[in-house]
């Protein structure tokens, strides 16, 4: 495994399994963009899909739902890393498939 992938694995492990102010299940749900109650679900979905659309009101609503600023911090971080990790994994799988095709073509010339 490359140093980058190793670092990514350690990062994900830290945010999901290490100490935190949000519960591990909340952090995992934010990472997966799945299963969070409103209004946090909307905030997390925006972070994952189009973060430039996040508004002051989204953060205020999360605060008013009872979350502390530290919990919001952790949940937003988990949402961002979760989406970036999914994109990376999708692209890495495509790269591996392309490598496989190249090797197949090299060993099976027409």
């Amino acid at each position: 495994m490359s140093d980058v992938r190793q670092g990514q694995t350690m990062l994900v492990r830290r945010i999901l399994e290490g100490d935190g102010k949000a519960s591990p299940s909340e952090r995992r749900a934010a990472f997966n963009n799945s299963g969070l109650a409103e209004p946090v679900g909307t905030l997390v979905d925006r972070v994952a899909k189009h973060a430039y659309k996040v508004t002051d009101e989204d953060i205020a609503a999360a605060r008013e739902s009872g979350l502390s600023e530290d919990q919001i911090f952790e949940i937003v971080v988990c949402a961002a890393i979760g989406q970036a990790a999914r994109l990376y994994d999708t692209a890495f799988a495509a790269l591996e498939a392309a490598r496989g095709r190249s090797e197949h073509a090299a060993t099976n010339p027409q």
């Binding site: 973060a51 911090f73 949402a79 692209a91 495509a94």
Partner: protein
Amino acid sequence: MRLRILNSGHTFGTKLLFALIRAVSRQPVLDVIKLVKYRADFYGAPMSRVTQEAMRGPSTWSVADRELMAAFVAKTNQCEFCIKAHSAVAQRAYGSGKNVSAFLSDLETGAVAEPLRATLLMLGKLTREHTLDVEDIQPVLAAGASPQQVEDALAVCFSFNVVGRLADAFGFFVPGREAFDAGAKYLLARGYR
């Protein structure tokens, strides 16, 4: 910033560091620094290791090329802070021979090698459409990028798909050009540690 803790919740030692940065650079502390220094064991420290490796670790892409990729991912995500920050780094790294801003506006006309152009187009699709398949990788390889270069570019893309989301979600303040120039000078000298 939208969370008060990210502006003023740092330890006393970190606040002293910020005062030193302000005194030496004569610029405000960028919000991205405030973010990575807040409870650094949770996000800043492990993320900085990943980004340092992607941006300054071994790769046949130059530092300038990787900074251009960061700026391009930011542009695709419409993240103003990251566009300005990494355009400034890329421009300083390339020197006056390339116009990074013009290139970001039009990938087709800018003077850039085909492997890099094809790689940027691939990163753009991944970031914009959240999907990529083998048919999107093959033109990049056909343009002359190696599989390792594609992997290295995906590592850059990972980091800036994280940072851009956080910049927008937390509402980073976008300062003037002088602050980004000072940040660019620092990032080229010291990296992301």
